[in-house]
Amino acid sequence: MAFKKNRRSPLAAVIVMAAGLALTGGGYAAATAAVEAVKPVSAVASADQISEGRKLFLANCASCHGKNAEGTKAAPSLIGVGGAAVEFQVDSGRMPGQASGPQLQVKKKQFTDEQIDALVAYATTLGNGPDVPTEEMIAANGDATRGGELFRINCAMCHNAVGAGGALTEGKYAPALKGVPADHVYEAMLTGPQNMPVFNDANLTPKDKKDIITYLKFVEENPSAGGYELANLGPVVEGLFTWIFILGFIIAITIWLGAKSN
C-alpha cells in the first residue's frame, strides 16, 4: 500500500527529536540562568540594606537578642550565626518567637522578602557565618538514591524515613519536611536550628545536601508504592487502623454470619 512506504529517511525522526531536545534543553538552561541572574546573592548587600536591616533588628529582635546582637538570658547571641540562620528562622516564621515553649513554632511570616533580605544583610555584618545558599545549591537535580541513603543515616531517626517528622523528648519534635522549601532544608542542615544538630560542610558536603534535597523532593512528588500512607507515621498508626477498621469489619461480618435471617 502506498502510505506504508517510507517517504522520508528513517533518520529524519532522529534529527527532529534531537533538534527538539536541544531547543527545549537549551531554552530551559537559558531560563534557569536568567532566574539565577535575577536573584542576587546576599553577598552583594548595599549599605542601605544593612542600615535598614539594623533598624528592623533594633525594632523587632533586640529586646531578646540584645542591642548589638550579643545575646541575653532570653535568647542567644547572633554574632557569627550567618545569613543562613537568620533567613531560616525569619523566613519560616519561627522568629520573632510568639511564646515560650518546648520549641518555636512555624507561623505566618512576619516580614516581607525585602525586609528579610535586609535582616540577612545586617546579620552578615555581625561576623562570619554560613551564608544563604544559591539557587544552584538547592536545586533538586542531584542523586536521589544517594540522597536517600544519606537521609536515612543522618536525618531519618528524627525526621522519619520519608520526612514525616517525629517526637523528641519533653514536648520537642522534629517537624515534617513535606512542603518545606529547599532553601530552609539546606539552611537547617547548615546551621542546626534549635535542637537539630549542625551538619557542616565537612560532615555533609554541599553535594550531599543537594542530594538530600533531591531525595525529599522525589519522595514528595512520588506517591508511596505501598498504598495509602496513613501519614507515614509507622506501625502504631497502621496497627490502630487495622484494629479499628479491618477487625471491626471482620467482627461485623461474623455477627451477620451468625445472625438469623429476619
Binding site: 541513603e149 544519606l150 543515616i153 543522618n154 531517626m157 528524627c158 517525629g166 523528641l168 523528648t169 519533653e170 520537642k172 522534629a174 542546626g192 534549635q194 535542637n195 537539630m196 544538630p197 549542625v198 551538619f199 557542616n200 565537612a202 560532615n203 512520588n222 506517591p223 508511596s224 508504592a225 505501598g226 498504598g227 454470619l257 438469623k260 435471617s261 429476619n262
Partner: protein, 346 residues
Amino acid sequence: MSEKKLAKSGSHNAEHEYEGGLAVIAPDAVRDPGLEPHRTRMTDKSVKHEKAAARQVAALFLVSIAGSAFAVYAYFAFPITEALGTVRNNTLLLGLGITLGLFGIGIGAVHWAKTLMPDAEVSEERHQTRGSEEVRARAVEIIKLADSESGFSRRKLIRRSLYGALALFPLPAIMIFGDLGPNPGDTLRHTMWKKGTRLAKDPTGTPIKASDVTLGSVFHVIPEGLSELEHGKLEEKAKAAVLLVRLDPADLKESDERKSWSYDGIVAYSKICTHVGCPVALYEQQTHHLLCPCHQSTFDVTDACKVIFGPASRPLPQLPITVDAEGYLIAQSDFTEPVGPSFWER
C-alpha cells in the same frame, strides 16, 4: 455415677444431692433456657420478600462478576510502569476487583442459605462421654488379649530393652540442636575498633578530622576499613556504629578515668541501645539528650551517657578517642565493655 444420677443432676433440679462426703453440689447458676420458639422468616411469609431476597442474592453474584471483570480490566488499564505510583494503582485496583469477586460469591451464598433455603431447626442432644459398661468391659478384654498375645508383661528382656531404646532415641537431637548455629564465643564482647582505627563517616568511609567536628555537630561513624571487609560487613557495622558529637568542654562531666577518652569536647558513644539494640541517634544539640526511638530511653551525653529516662538499664559504652599526627580522630582501643543489650554471661 449411674445413668440415673446423671440424668438427675443434668435436669437442673435445684435440690442438692448428697454424695456421701461433705461436698455440696451447687445447682447451675444459669438455667438452660431451652430452645427458642421458632420464628418464621419474612421470606417464608410473603412472596414479595422472597422475590426481593432472590434478587439480592443474584445482585451479590453480579457484584462478584463485576469485580472479577474489573480486576481483569484494571490489570490492563493500570499497568505497572517505571513510575512508583503505578505499582500502587495496579495492586490496589486489581486487589479490589479480586476482593469483590470472592466477597460477592461468599456473601451471596450465605445470604441465599439464610433467606431462601429451608429453615427447619434441628437440635441434637450431646451424648455422654463415658462408654457403656459393655463397651468398657470389651476394651479391657482387648487390651488383656493383646498383652497375652504379645507377651509384653511376660517377656521381661524384650520389654526392658524396648524401654532403653525409647529412652535413648531422642539423644541425637541434642547434638543437632547444638549445631543450629556457631557459638557466639567472645564476638559479643569485641568490635572492629582497635587502637589507631580512624573514625570514618557512614556510609562513605571518609576519615574525620577533629577540626571537622564543630560545636553542635553530630557525625554517624563507622570504623575506617569497614566498607572494604570481604564478609560480615553488616555484623561488624551493627556492633561498631558510633555517634560522635562535640560539646563545650565546660558542659562535660567526666570521671577521672575517662578524662583522657574525649578530645577537646569531642565524645564518641556506641549507637546501639543497651535496652534491645536499636540505633540510638536522636541527638538534641541544646539539651544533649540522646533519645532511642524504639522505647524512648534517654541518655545524657554530658554525663557519660547515663540513662535519664526509659527502660535501658546501663549507659551507652564510650569509645576512647584521640587524634593522630595528621589530625584525624582515632580510637584509643576497642570499647571497654560489650556494646548493645544485655546477654546471659554479661
